[in-house]
Subunit: 246 residues, 2 copies
């Protein structure tokens, strides 16, 4: 089977590229994308798809070369203007590989703008694979229809994260503490959600977090949630109260 | 390493059992639980843990026999009264194995009361493994601290689900349609969330759903969510507006 029109959402192909995009520009896809397009989607010269780069909006593109060295596209007309997701970050202590893959994918779908790995006392540091996080975030962005990809930052220690924090951004700390507010009660249009590793934050970390003026401890109900569940629940509720789901 | 006190949350062991629970009763664990307790947690005679059955509250229990045929417990004092989760169901078209495992686990953590597999036109029926869903739901219930486990029903066709529906329960249909309301705007203390298979509902199904008096089409924002993401986001938002996260 070949497929002439891979335009999203009809044919479903939508790719993130780094190159500048404008009418008539040429884009050479990287190895993975070329393989995907040529061998998985069976694209051929003349096949069409959608591309975006997070800066110039979304564009129609046409395959002009399918070669061993890669697939080359010519940019056609602009399908849509550049848009931005709401101003929400997820600062997360890395967890096991599969739940981490999952939380990155879901956070990208839920419109997170930045993913910040945070090293805590109970974090198993070997788990942080930033390139893998980036690749998962890009794939989910492509499939979700968003015109940006989340930034995935290099890991930072919790103490350093707090000392360098822009205090105009509220940090919603998903805590088990009794006095924490329901997250739906918070109105914070510029915010970050913070979740811990499987073993949670240690008592000294909780105390340090609660001492910061920009930290708001928030609760996610009476049951014990895994770290990845907490991150996704918090993002969904934030989108529905402060983001673009209202 | 052995562990005398496996009481949750100290040692972390908390098991769901089917037997009736009262002071002095004897409980014989099934094969899987016996293996877990004896060989993974290294329980021995005298080890303590927490048990619940969804009816009689939560109880302290002590291992009295560790044998090849299984582990036997004696029920001690009641740790806490029986509690119920809010009245929310998830009706979901089965999806691929790994995302289905994941959504069952997360839905149980998020306090869902019933999981109802729904067969739609685009559902791949071979995917419905009710026993696996039950086992995942029980494990997540044990770890989340809830004192019930979600009911996992036998699969039912969408048409039949609708014709037998208790119309006092609102069915929140996660739809991509333009006129759907934000889910956070709905107040429905007795409700069910409905999500489709990877390929979505077909046009005739969407029309049929929208024709029902008890169906409310709801939206989850401007991005395209996978079926499992939609289910979890909808559950989290419902808990924060109508459930026990308020």
């Amino acid at each position: 089977m070949t497929n002439d029109d891979l335009t999203y959402p009809g044919g479903g192909v939508r790719l993130y590229v780094e190159a500048a995009l404008s009418d008539g520009f040429t884009v050479v896809l990287n190895e993975d994308q070329s393989h995907y397009l040529a061998h998985v989607m069976r694209a051929k010269v003349g096949s069409r798809l959608a591309i975006f780069n997070g800066r110039d909006g979304e564009w129609d593109a046409t395959v002009v070369v399918v070669a061993k060295r890669g697939v080359t596209l010519t940019v056609g007309r602009r399908i849509g203007a550049q848009t931005e997701t709401p101003d929400i970050w997820l600062a997360l202590a890395p967890i096991k590989k599969t739940p981490l893959d999952y939380v990155v994918q879901k956070a990208a779908e839920l419109g997170v703008r930045r993913l910040q790995p945070v090293i805590t006392r109970r974090t198993i540091v070997e788990r942080v694979n930033v390139e893998r996080m980036r690749s998962n975030a890009i794939e989910a962005a492509e499939q979700s229809g968003r015109r940006t990809v989340p930034d995935v930052e290099e890991p930072v220690a919790l103490t350093r994260l707090l000392s360098n924090w822009d205090t105009t951004r509220l940090l919603l700390f998903c805590d088990e503490g009794g006095d924490a507010k329901p997250i739906a009660a918070i109105r914070a249009p510029k915010a970050a959600i913070l979740t811990g590793p499987e073993g949670g934050f240690d008592p000294a970390e909780r105390e340090m977090l609660r001492a910061q003026s920009f930290v708001i401890p928030v609760t996610l109900g009476p049951r014990i949630l895994r770290a990845d569940t907490a991150a996704l629940a918090a993002l969904a509720i934030w989108q529905s109260t402060c983001g673009d789901w209202t």
